[in-house]
Amino acid sequence: MAKIIDDETIENVCILAKLALTEEEKEKAKADMQKMLDYVDKLDELDTEAVEPLTHIFGSDNVFRDDVVTNGDCRKEMLANAPKAREWQYQVPKTIG
């Protein structure tokens, strides 16, 4: 039996996902997620006790290289993408009280 998605779980998921849903959207999200979890519950049929989780298909060794700058200065172009910028810096709403 899958985990029951209640209001508290959806609230928590919204905090983690940084989303602000309306009550109506939350109800829909609850139903959608419940349906999906009921479905993926199928995995419980598999005995995976002795199975190692597989993250990387070809191993996961770190890849190192020398820390050398190869790109040019794109400051202007990068800032041009910012929704708001001031004095060559990204501008965001007040972060401290």
């Binding site: 985990k3 779980t9 928590n12 998921v13 919204c14 983690l16 996902a17 940084k18 989303l19 602000a20 849903l21 999200a29 959608d32 997620m33 349906k35 999906m36 979890l37 479905y39 993926v40 199928k42 995995l43 419980d44 049929e45 598999l46 995976t48 199975v51 190692e52 989780p53 597989l54 993250t55 990387h56 298909i57 070809f58 770190n62 890849v63 290289r65 790109n71 794109c74 172009e77 990068m78 041009a80 993408n81 910012a82 929704p83 708001k84 990204y90 965001v92 709403p93 007040k94 972060t95």
Partner: protein, 490 residues
């Protein structure tokens, strides 16, 4: 000259022999774009003037020996999740509607060096999440074979553009079937390479452990030639593999005598449309007629593939898409007075429904208390699926499967029930979970005139085997046309 009948390789050859100009190829695709794209909507953006300028430059470069590759002078379209410097790259999402990358994806640099002419960016499901190209924030793409139907997805724009003659070649990306399934729906050829073969640098990430860029074209040889150009080690992608065997076009034409094909028999049971099954079974006959051996075998993990895939893909998506916060690029909600309010409102307004659904599922399966039960369980299931494919490849050279359980659905039918749409990915997701290469080749049409594709799957690094199988299959099948007429019903 009827350019509808030329492959990209043939076009490039004729350009080299001065029978046709680079500009002629570019003009042909823009004529088709102007005629058909108002209805098909394969493209989000094209740049005609620049393409013409580039065509002239490439023409010169071919003459002076700068561009000697087999696809020099060929027009190509790029899926809109691949960065091109100075060109909007939106992932078909409102949250990136104005994003202009300051750098090229590695594949773009390689295309430019090889003398291809990039003509525009193609539509897709938002952030490559979807199987129909209907989740795009900028309108649906329609199937050029019948515009009441979807082109598949998520690389639906790229596949529709090739099918409509609106380009010769395209790049797509494949995370759970996003090249192979729309290729099947649009009657074109599309290949997902072994994980790590093509650099992901500059591909906006959906699920990093599964994403691969791959070619879409009019036939297998075109895909092999394009893959040769984009494959290769790149130090900017830590999962990039240094392969020595990227001469994919070599030995493609060898015979199939004695080649062993395996067909998972569970793939042909419940849920497979009878017309697709019939076309698939006929394709098997084409292969056995050439002296290959086709056997059926059992895949016990089939029903666990979709659950494992959607848990892993959503988990990675929730992490990858955290970067879209309205600070450095993309959309920002208006009138936010506080930082967290800005994050939340930006993301809520900027992401579409399907993307939010996957971010939420991913956040949940990774959250404290549920990580082991869902995410870890999915990774263990992935290990079991891999074991099954490993043992299948001990017995068979290439595995065969349909690309999708049905032909292209009607527009508006799929998004009503997300879970039902996910189930349509049943034949494609395991290939990504196991890092395998897979190609879809057209094998017929249904009674409605919609294309059907056969999928050929190889063991890791065995692209050459699937390419040989595909080339021989094409020879046995005979020519497969482009979509009859953009906008006209088949």
């Amino acid at each position: 000259m009827d350019l509808d009948k030329l492959t990209a390789l043939e076009l490039a050859e004729k350009i080299k022999q001065h029978q046709i100009g680079v500009l002629d190829g570019v003009k042909y695709v823009f004529d088709n774009i102007e005629k058909k794209d108002p209805k098909v909507h394969a493209y989000l953006e094209t740049w005609k003037k620049e393409a013409f300028t580039r065509a002239k430059q490439v023409e010169k470069g071919i003459a002076d020996g700068t561009y000697t590759g087999p696809l020099a002078g060929v027009p190509i379209a790029i899926k809109d999740n691949i960065c091109i410097r100075g060109k909007k790259t939106t992932c078909a999402s409102k949250i990136l509607e104005n994003f202009v990358p300051t750098y090229n994806a590695e594949v773009i640099d390689r295309l430019e060096k090889a003398g291809l002419v990039i003509i525009g960016k193609t539509n897709m499901d938002e952030f490559a999440m979807g199987s129909t190209t209907e989740t795009s924030a900028f309108g649906v793409t329609r199937n050029p074979w019948n515009t009441d139907h979807v082109p598949g997805g998520s690389s639906g724009g790229s596949c529709a553009a090739v099918a409509a003659g609106e380009t010769f070649l395209a790049l797509g990306s494949d995370t759970g079937g996003s090249i192979r399934q729309p290729s099947s729906f649009c009657g074109v050829t599309g290949l997902k390479p072994t994980y790590g073969t093509v650099s992901r640098y500059g591909l906006i990430a959906y699920a990093s452990s599964l994403d691969q860029i791959g070619p879409v074209g009019r036939d297998t040889a075109d895909c092999a030639a394009l893959l040769e150009i984009i494959a290769g080690h790149d130090s900017k992608d830590s999962t990039s593999i240094d392969r020595k065997d990227t001469d994919f076009s070599k030995d493609m034409k060898g015979h199939l005598l004695g080649m062993k094909f395996g067909v998972p028999k569970e793939y042909l049971s419940e849920g497979l449309d009878p017309e697709v099954k019939e076309s698939f079974m006929n394709a098997l006959k084409v292969l056995t007629a050439q002296g290959s051996i086709v056997e059926f075998f059992s895949v016990k993990t089939m029903e666990y593939m979709i659950p494992a895939y959607y848990i892993i893909a959503s988990a990675e998506a929730s992490s990858n898409l955290e970067r879209f916060d309205g600070v450095k690029y993309g959309y920002r909600a208006e009138g936010c007075t506080e930082l967290h309010d800005m994050y939340k409102r930006t993301r809520t307004e900027g992401f579409g429904e399907e993307v939010k659904r996957r971010i939420m599922l991913g956040s949940f399966v990774l959250s404290s208390g549920y990580y082991d039960a869902y995410y870890l369980k999915a990774l263990k299931t992935k290990a079991l699926i891999r074991q099954e494919f490993d043992s299948a490849f001990h017995k068979y050279d290439v595995l065969l499967a349909p690309a999708a359980p049905y032909t292209a659905p009607k527009i508006g039918e799929s998004l009503k029930d997300p879970l039902a749409m996910y189930l349509g990915d049943i034949y494609t997701v395991a290939v990504n979970l196991c890092g395998l290469p897979g190609i879809t080749v057209p094998c017929g049409t249904d009674k409605k005139g919609l294309p059907i594709g056969i999928q050929m799957i190889g063991d890791c690094f065995m692209e050459k085997k699937i390419l040989r199988a595909a080339v021989n299959f094409e020879a046995g099948r005979g020519a497969f046309p482009l979509a009859a007429e953009g906008g006209k019903k088949a």
